[in-house]
């Protein structure tokens, strides 16, 4: 499993958006994990450039955080190749994270997903995560996805998360990348 031991950026980085972890998939895998996330930023942002090995044109994925069991809920709207729908779930182990192109899509097509985790280190509130995902297949299929999830299993600070496929045979393709940014506000 590709993992990134997140850490504070070295030197004296300027700006608000600081890269604190990066993963490149070099062998197809089911999970991309970040851990040891510093608690010193205001928000987190994950930028995922991804493709899957599953046989479909478009595949969904999961976002696991806070190590909770059956305590996640979420809702989303999705345009899957022209079919617009909504979804709402509760009592889940993981959040629905978005859609990415899979093996039936043109081989050079990759999907983009941005995951925002606001106020992730506040230990008094449940965490709300927002997912914004787009992909195309160059084969008549494509998708837009906007969703949120909340975990009521814990108010703990988020120190690790895992971006996972649905099954052990449908994997993140080689070349998939995930970068974790810490977003700092005034005075941080």
């Amino acid at each position: 499993m590709p993992v990134s031991h997140a850490g504070n950026a070295g030197g004296s980085p300027k700006g608000a958006m600081i890269s604190i972890g990066f993963v490149t998939v070099t062998t197809a895998t089911s999970d991309i994990q970040f851990f040891n996330i510093p608690q010193t930023y205001t928000d987190l942002r994950v930028v995922l450039s991804a493709r899957r090995t599953g046989a479909n044109y478009v595949e969904g994925f999961l976002f696991n955080y806070l190590d909770v069991s059956a305590s996640l809920s979420g809702c989303y709207i999705v345009n899957n190749s022209g079919s617009v729908s909504n979804g709402i779930v509760s009592n889940q182990d993981a959040a629905t994270g978005g859609l990415v192109p899979a093996a039936s899509a043109s081989s050079t097509i990759w999907g983009t997903t941005v995951i925002d985790i606001l106020n992730y280190s506040n230990t008094n509130t449940y965490k709300t995560v927002m997912f914004n995902s787009q992909c195309d297949s160059n084969s008549g299929y494509g998708a837009n996805f906007l969703g949120v999830s909340v975990s009521k299993g814990s108010t703990g600070g988020l120190t690790t998360f895992d971006i996972a496929t649905f099954s052990g045979s449908d994997l993140w393709a080689v070349g998939t990348t995930a970068e974790l940014f810490g977003i700092r506000t005034v005075g941080k």
Partner: protein, 172 residues
């Protein structure tokens, strides 16, 4: 593109905050971004945060949205509104400790030749109990003035722990 912190309000204390105003906004960035973590005090499951630019309380805002979640996807458009509502955030009858998140991007905010355009993505989950929604909003302020202040008014005020951060984005 680089992003820089400009101002921060929060986390709100035990009494919450009624209105958040970012004033004297520097004019040396290309775009602005506001990042919101908020729960509102009004007794409802789902409420907006109202956006006012340069204190303009007139009916000078237009915009559309697409939304869904607990309900099936739908779209909407409003013209000549004031102030402009950014949805959706939880009110006090949503589940305890649930907060909504929102990101508002305001483009080319110093260009005095064009009306100002903004877009927002926001939402929250109420554990499938109603009110759960995500929404994409676009809007325009029918005024060419450079934006120097932004006022956010959570419906009924926001609760403790709510947070509002303003960033400037610089083009290469």
């Amino acid at each position: 593109m680089s992003m820089y912190p400009i101002a921060s309000v929060g986390p709100a204390g035990s009494g919450g905050i009624g209105t958040i105003t970012f004033s004297s906004i520097p004019q040396n960035f290309t775009h602005l971004q506001i990042r919101i973590f908020c729960r509102c005090q009004t007794a409802a499951t789902q409420v907006p945060i109202f956006l006012t630019l340069n204190g303009d309380g007139g009916s000078n805002y237009n915009g559309g949205s697409i939304q869904g979640g607990y309900n099936a996807p739908s779209g909407g458009y409003a013209s000549s509104t004031s102030p402009y509502g950014i949805y959706c955030f939880p009110g006090s009858t949503s589940g305890t400790n649930y907060f909504g998140v929102g990101i508002i991007d305001i483009y080319d905010y110093t260009n005095a030749s064009i009306n100002k355009t903004f877009r927002a993505t926001a939402g929250y989950s109420n554990y499938a109990a109603g009110g759960d929604e995500v929404r994409i909003t676009e809007g325009s302020w029918m005024n060419t003035s450079a934006i120097t202040s932004i006022t956010l008014s959570p419906y009924g005020g926001c609760t403790q722990y709510s947070q509002f951060d303003l960033y400037g984005i610089v083009a290469a």
